[in-house]
Amino acid sequence: MNMSFSTSDSPSTDDAVEPDKSPSPDIGGKIEAENKECVLVEAINMALHYEMARDDSVVVLGEDVATNGGVFRATLDLKQTFGAARVLDTPLAEGLIGGISIGMATQGLKPVTEIQFMGFMFAALEQLMCHAARMRNRTRGRLACPMVVRMPFGGGIHAPEHHSESTEALLAHTPGLRVVIPSSPIRAYGLLLAAIRDPDPVIFLEPKRIYRAQAQRVCNDGEALPLDTCFTLREGEDITLVSWGALISECSQVADQMLERGIAVELIDVATVSPLDMATILESVAKTGRCVIAHEAPKTGGIGGEIAAQLAEHALLDLKAPVLRVAGYDTVMPYAKKEALYLPSAAQISNAIQQVLNFA
């Protein structure tokens, strides 16, 4: 095997478990902040480059991430730039990948691990749920798991079976794991930096349907975004629309259409589905009195249910209408031919909004 573990690039791991949310001001001039027009997957790649250059303890591992640069090219050129000791193609075993990431993280490295598709995360769940999520608690702070697990997720790219699921609720129901979902290149860049710098395990779910959608100008300045705040993408008085991931584009579209009809939608991108920033959502609903939640995952037991439940607990008197959820059906993700039928559509979101607005 051609993985060279040279001692010369031994990372400094002094601050491995120290929280560190601000970019180091001095990174030896290696990187200059530049504005780059890029799509979401490129923004991820840019963040990985930035952080690997800034912090020697960051390592990248997974199936096909090194030589091939990832099946979606998210890890392109990392091996060339940072060497085979820090960018590792693993054998084909997700449980192993989970386990070695934890082992590495306990020793002061910061693994950024790729699970090729979220549909293949299951073999890693024992490690993620029983160990990554618990190491700090179990050792009363002696050891920690500062690791990021990246997984492309969601439907809409006409992929084969097991390549299109959205099971973020399983992860979000696991105390000790943070679950983060970007919905644009800018947020992908800033949230991934934050995830890597977080001293605890973060699951980073990448909506692959919009990997190469609309490009944005992203400033490569190493500036992280907060990990526990919803983003209010547009303000509005009439109804709160809550979503995350790829569906944010349909939601924006619907908000545009609504505006033409004089209806002001407040659009919230949850972004960090665990821990949930309910304060932002509650504040919005206190104003609008109406709420629709949209997500791709099956409706029952999805994160939309948790949000609606918290509204029923904390905002009952604010609510002028039932909280509606537009979500996937409670069935197995269909194969490509029928995935459009499964995926929530702009029309469904817009219908739900109309229904909520029409409510007496």
């Binding site: 640069g69 099946v71 084909l92």
Partner: protein, 364 residues
């Protein structure tokens, strides 16, 4: 006190890459029609594979994993099995599935994103192919357990790739097969690559067959591009499984001459020279040479075969493209034997959404 236990792994090849004999032929090779059937099925498999790639390239099918160069393994698997045996295949086993009754149209359907491709339109108890790597192997062990409990004399044949041998399930299944004496044959298609990861980065074990030693079962390595050797090894293993309820692990050495799938570009990570070298070893040319040498095959026959295959494939494509769509509610109707009443409203919503999709066009 010192003690020592010895283990060994054998390698078997009859035909060298030029189709010349290395060893005296096994007895079953006097069965000319069987030899021809191996050849014909390999040719059909290759042509069908080309068509599948073409369908994908022209937007008529989804991502597809070609089996180019690995036809011998799957064809011999299919031919060596008895009808009531159970196949638990992986996704490069369409030839075996087809020998056992799957239609080419079903193959296209599956990769075209239509669940009916997994129905196999038959009463067979074969499992459908399995995307999550290696997970079929423990299921196969369960099938073998069931056959044994039921006292049937059928056996299970299951397959996977070289990359799959790194996943724990592989070893768990092998181990169970050993300790429960299961009537099962594991066939590894060692095509040397798992997407971009070469075998040398999967394991330090010089053979994959030796993984059998960990389970205390028989393991053997075979030239997977030599149909004589493959058929010999698989059929003997099936016989052993049937008669003695003992499992076997077979490592069939082959090579993935194509990209991993139509979504992959192997030139990014794989040496052109390596690929070229392996074209010299592919099974169809080799076997054709052998049949020629044995006086079993000529140009006329080849021509007839090619046109017969073409016709079969054209019909399958036609059938595939003409297939009526499943009703929208199919996406929920097969979830349970009976729709739970709590899902009834979702079922109507699906119907409703379908109607709106149909009238408004793709609404996303």
């Amino acid at each position: 006190m010192r003690g020592r236990q010895q283990f060994s792994i054998h390698f078997l090849q009859y035909l060298d890459p030029e189709g010349n004999l290395d060893l005296p032929l096994p007895e079953w090779t006097t069965d000319g029609p069987l030899l021809l059937s191996i050849y014909q099925n390999m040719v059909l498999a290759r042509l069908l594979d080309q068509k599948a790639v073409a369908l994908q390239r022209t937007g008529q099918m989804g991502t597809y994993p070609s089996i180019l160069g690995q036809e011998a393994i799957s064809v011999c698997t299919g031919l060596a099995m008895a009808k009531n045996d159970v196949l638990v295949p992986y996704y490069r086993d369409a030839p075996a599935q087809m020998i056992r009754g799957m239609s080419a149209a079903e193959l296209f359907m599956y990769w075209g994103g239509d669940e009916r491709g997994g129905n196999l339109n038959t009463a067979s108890l074969d499992l459908p192919i399995c995307v999550p790597i290696a997970t079929q192997l423990t299921q196969a062990a369960g099938v073998a357990t069931a056959l044994k409990i039921k006292g049937e004399d059928s056996v299970v044949v299951t397959s996977c790739g070289d990359g799959a041998t790194s996943k724990g399930d592989f070893m768990e299944a092998l181990n169970l097969a050993g300790v429960w004496d299961l009537p099962i044959v594991f066939v590894i298609n060692n095509n040397r690559w798992a997407i971009s990861v070469p075998l040398a980065q999967q394991t330090r074990a010089p053979t994959l067959a030796q993984k059998a030693i960990a389970a205390g079962i028989e393991g053997i390595q075979v030239d997977g591009n030599d149909p004589i050797a493959v058929y010999e090894v698989i059929s003997k293993a099936i016989e052993r499984a049937r008669e003695h309820k003992t499992p076997t692990l077979i490592e069939a050495l082959s090579y993935r001459l194509s990209d991993h799938t139509t979504a992959d570009d192997a030139s990014r990570y794989r040496d052109a020279d390596e690929l070229k070298a392996h074209w010299q070893e592919e099974p169809i040319h080799r076997f054709q040479q052998f049949l020629h040498q044995q006086g079993l095959w000529d140009r006329e026959q080849e021509k007839a075969l090619q046109s017969h295959c073409q016709q079969t494939i054209d019909q399958a494509v036609e059938q595939y493209l003409a297939a009526e769509e499943e009703p929208a509610t199919a996406i929920i109707d097969y979830l349970h034997a009976f729709l739970p009443y709590s899902l009834e409203s979702q079922r109507s919503a699906i119907q409703h959404k379908d109607a709106s999709v149909n009238t408004e066009g793709e609404s996303r």
